[in-house]
Amino acid sequence: MPDVLTYVLHFEGAFNKNSLGAVSEGAARAEEIGGQCHALVLGGDDLTDELCSSLGAYGATKVFRARGPEGLAQPVIDAMAKAIDDQGHGYALFGGGLLGFEIGAGLAARKQAGVTMEVTSVRAEDGKLVAERPILQDSQISVSRYRGDLGIIIGRINAFEVVSRDGGSAEVVDLDIEYSSWSTQASMVQRGEQRGADVDIEGADVLVAGGRGLGQAENFKLAEDLASAFGGNTAVAATRAVVDAGWYPYAAQIGQTGKTVAPKLYLAAGISGAIQHKVGMQSSENIVAINKDANAPIFEFSDLGIVGDLNKILPKLTEAIKDRKGS
């Protein structure tokens, strides 16, 4: 069947941007193969008729609504499996994010389906959808074709653009789910905790980003000093490795489970350039990286790469920029 089912994540009454991208993408590709795009949402009373039907504006014709615990993958697997059993969707599509990975993979197990993750592009070919995934640090692209009744496509973050259409409104269908016993064996204690200070990195023109190469939390001072030397609309950002380690606040994190930024200048110090970080900053206008490892992946997508020790370079660079500003 040519219909596409997407999962739409929400938090505090708003839909996730990447999920909306998945709906837009699903609608566009389903049309090409003669199908429709449906969405599935799962949560509590905040999923009102009005909110759900608003997904029609991104191209969904039908929205399945299930009541259940939010933020966990396994209840969604039960719900999507039910919707697919009822409607015979040919594809399940997810925007980037963590839950999409877990749900898509669990669904693949449940439905004996093929799954491809980190997909950057989907296209129609002979009435079927095929997915492109960059592999090996983005040095190659691999094309996935699906066998069987269901193909599962998990997008890379920011891969699918949100496209709103005029006047679309989706039909809302309540799904009655009997959750699997194991789906109810995990429960959310606290969701979306913000650790550390609330900082704004999305609005900055210049971002100095620090990674594990800084060596210790205190060395973020090197990044902060450089940022203040630039002055103006400048901020300090971080990788997940250092946020998880408690060196810097979560609000400053760039990447798949952090912020997406596109400053005029992004300067990385001690960052390897993992894909999950890259997806959050690759649209920056100018990318400068300082890393002591000449083979660090970040040099593959830097405009200016400096192979060297940040402990030596950052303090001198800070002074030089101060001087330059002063003159």
């Binding site: 990975f101 877990e102 693949a108 400068v288």
Partner: protein, 263 residues
């Protein structure tokens, strides 16, 4: 309780990875190592054992892979596992993520673990998803990317970063948990442990012995076919400066920034 840790042999980080154009599979020749994330999973198992709040009777390292993968098992045992299970069969070659997860779940069923731990990602596959596949087959609750895990009787209190910040999730065992590298600092194996690793029990099983349906694994059983490997659009390479004289390097950086009116 019994903990099974899923471990995988991957190309060493220093080896350039590539697709073998003749088979469309990853070229797995060259130096190999235990997937670094899996050492964090073994360490997590050791810390549960040493934490003493529950009794851990056994830690079993489990892998699916060719003959050479026993090295990953030896390494796992040197890091603390008590014994290991090696699922190996030519019929498994070419399995996709779903098929690999299914096969591993059958091997795990034989062991009946109370907890399955694994790494959040493999250095070569980078699918982040084996745990979710395994969990659905085993009918166990599951969480991936966990960076803090406390055992509390029969359940685990886990923390991880998700789309909107940090989530704390209570998971009842038996469960499948994939761990991130921030969860712990793996220990180094002692020389004695390295020397003794080959003497610890290692069981080898084939697909039939653990009830794997042959139609669901290997290239034939995989529902995804990967092919048409090609290069991404070429991007102009950036300029590289090797830092020899830092004053000079800094001058060059400032000039580069100046040129683009970034200061």
């Amino acid at each position: 309780m019994k903990i099974c840790v899923l471990v995988k042999e991957v190309p060493d980080a220093a080896v350039e990875k590539r697709i073998d154009p003749s088979t469309g599979r990853m070229d797995r020749s060259g130096e190999k190592n235990l997937n670094p994330y899996d050492t964090h999973a073994i360490e997590a198992a050791m810390q549960i054992r040493e934490g003493g709040s529950v009794q851990v009777d056994e830690i079993v390292a489990v892998t699916m892979g060719p003959e050479s993968a026993v090295r990953a098992l030896h390494k796992s045992v040197s890091l603390g596992a008590d014994r290991s299970l090696h699922l190996t069969d030519p019929a498994l070659a070419g399995s996709d993520v779903a098929a690999t997860g299914y096969a591993l779940s059958k091997a795990l069923e034989k062991e009946q673990p109370d907890l399955v731990l694994l790494g959040q990602q493999s250095d070569d596959g980078e699918c982040y998803t084996i745990g979710a596949v395994v969990a659905d087959h085993l009918k166990m609750p599951s969480l991936t990317q966990v960076i803090k895990m406390d055992v509390d009787g029969g359940s685990l209190r886990c923390e991880r970063q998700a789309e909107y910040g940090y989530d704390t999730v209570q998971v009842e065992m038996p469960a499948v948990i994939s761990v991130g590298d921030a969860i712990n600092e793996p220990r180094y194996p002692s020389l004695k442990a390295i020397m003794g690793a080959k003497k610890k029990p290692l069981e080898t099983v084939s697909t039939g012995e653990v009830g794997i349906e042959s139609g669901l694994v290997g290239e034939e059983g995989s529902r995804v076919q990967c092919g048409d490997f090609h290069d991404p659009p070429a991007k102009a390479p950036g300029q590289i400066i090797e830092d020899e004289d830092t004053n000079e390097t800094v001058e060059k950086i400032v000039a580069w920034l100046d040129e683009r009116k970034l200061i």
